[in-house]
């Protein structure tokens, strides 16, 4: 993989926008890897949390948008809780998810959710799932 960097990447408008939405500052991340180390789902992520932050620093938001990472983060906040710089990757990923959902692009359609699940699962899972996966 080769990255071609230009000023427009480093000053990426979409990353600045994401920072505004999430209240996070991607520059704060110094790439220590604690989030990837502690994230319970990083093993399944196409781009683990530390790399998410790196791609955003490089202005490459598309790379992250195309990965499954944001759909796997459940916001357990272990990344934020242990981040020495106080960065919340969870908030960043939620911001990206939010932007996608606001465009009306769902991760999961309501009709795809199995009926037995809807019947038995705690309401909180259904409400939360719909809010996080359905546009």
């Amino acid at each position: 993989m080769k990255i071609r960097l230009g000023n427009e990447d480093i000053q990426s408008a979409s990353v600045r926008r994401l920072e505004r939405i999430t209240g996070e500052d991607v520059k704060r991340c110094y790439q220590c890897g604690n989030c990837s180390g502690g994230c319970p789902v990083s093993y399944a992520m196409e781009i683990p949390p530390t790399k998410v932050m790196r791609f955003l620093q490089l202005g490459n938001i598309e790379e992250v948008q195309n990965a499954n990472s944001m759909w796997l983060c459940v916001g357990c906040l272990q990344c934020y809780s242990r981040c020495p710089q106080g960065v919340s990757v969870a908030a960043i990923l939620e911001g990206m998810r939010q932007e996608t959902l606001r465009k009306g692009e769902s991760r999961t359609e309501v009709k795809e959710v199995p009926f037995p699940f809807l019947k038995k699962a705690p309401q909180q899972a259904i409400v939360c799932g719909f809010r996080k996966f359905v546009g």
């Binding site: 505004r20 939405i21 999430t22 209240g23 319970p40 789902v41 399944a44 796997l72 459940v74 916001g75 357990c76 906040l77 272990q78 934020y80 809780s81 919340s88 969870a90 908030a91 939620e94 911001g95 939010q98 991760r107 999961t108 795809e112 959710v113 699940f117 038995k120 699962a121 705690p122 309401q123 909180q124 899972a125 259904i126 409400v127 939360c128 799932g129 809010r131 996080k132 996966f133």
Partner: protein, 289 residues
């Protein structure tokens, strides 16, 4: 002592046993949970981006209703607790957002309600000593894994029920009930939460890690504070056992059921039949029932 109580949707439906056992137990240790006259869903997730103010209106409405019934509010579900407590903090500390939210819900709420988890009520208002003194059926000899999950602890600066990395409130309660809390690796790690909706594989892996680490540390019983944790653990348990590696299922119960049991309530009223794992063999083995 009467404390206004917010049950939340799940406790009104699939986790009824969590609610009833808590109410019964409260009366045995000297307080009454007074359900809010009016309440709605808390939204089941605290919006992590400050941009999403609309997500705060539902919990704000709950809080505003609660403020009309007293200065404290207790709740049981770890998610509701997390959402309410964090929303309350935003309303209290952020004037700009408070105005926006109040505009939406057409109320004048200032964030003055003190949100207490049921565990905090037991620790700080009742006292674990008094709980211990009220025990009629000690859970003697039961090695119990206290599974905190995420929402009861994080983020520390907003929740602060106990230390984020080495909490003891849950173990202290179980010890007061006569059980032996076991130390296990994944007690504050995630169960997979709402991924239950579209990613069973991850939920099975994460819940599996919680349960194998608990049972590996000698637990004969897993105790939870959250209906979603309870659901994910119960649902994953057979699959984890099937996958081999010698895991054998253990009962998973709500902490209020353990409390009710120890406080000597009629076992039939504790709703164990609603749990998918059977606790009775364990109780018989330990001579408790």
């Amino acid at each position: 002592m009467k404390i206004p109580y917010y049950p939340g949707c799940t406790l009104n439906t699939v986790a009824k046993q969590f609610d009833t056992s808590a109410r019964e137990s409260a009366s045995s240790v000297g307080f009454e949970m007074k359900e809010l006259a009016q309440w709605n869903c808390c939204g089941a997730t605290f919006p992590l981006t400050p941009d999403n103010v609309i997500g705060l209106t539902a919990p704000a409405k709950v809080l505003s209703n609660a403020s009309k019934e007293g200065d404290t509010l207790t709740t049981l579900c770890a998610v509701c607790y997390n959402v309410l407590k964090r929303t309350n903090k935003v309303i209290r500390d952020n004037r700009e957002k408070r105005n926006v939210i109040n505009g939406f819900i057409e109320e004048e709420y200032d964030g003055s309600v003190n949100i207490l988890h049921y565990l905090e009520v037991l620790r700080d208002k009742v006292g674990f000593d008094k709980v211990k003194a009220s025990v009629k059926r000690p859970l003697k000899g039961i090695k119990a894994a206290t599974y905190y999950g995420c929402m009861l602890l994080r983020p520390f600066e907003d929740i602060g029920i106990d230390k984020a990395e080495r909490p003891t409130i849950f173990e202290d309660l179980l010890a007061a009930l006569g059980a032996e809390p076991v130390e296990f690796a994944n007690k504050i790690e995630c169960c997979g939460a709402h991924l239950a909706m579209n990613n069973e594989e991850v939920v099975t892996t994460l819940s599996g890690k919680v349960m194998t680490s608990a049972v590996g540390a000698g637990a004969e019983l897993i105790v939870t504070t959250c209906p979603l944790c309870q659901f994910n653990l119960e649902k994953s348990q057979p699959k984890v056992a099937e996958a081999g590696s010698g895991y054998s299922p253990v009962p998973v119960i709500y902490f209020t059921q353990a409390l009710g049991l120890a406080l000597g309530q009629d076992i039939a009223t504790l709703g164990f039949e609603k749990n998918s794992s059977d606790i009775m063999p364990l109780l018989k083995k330990k001579g408790i029932a």
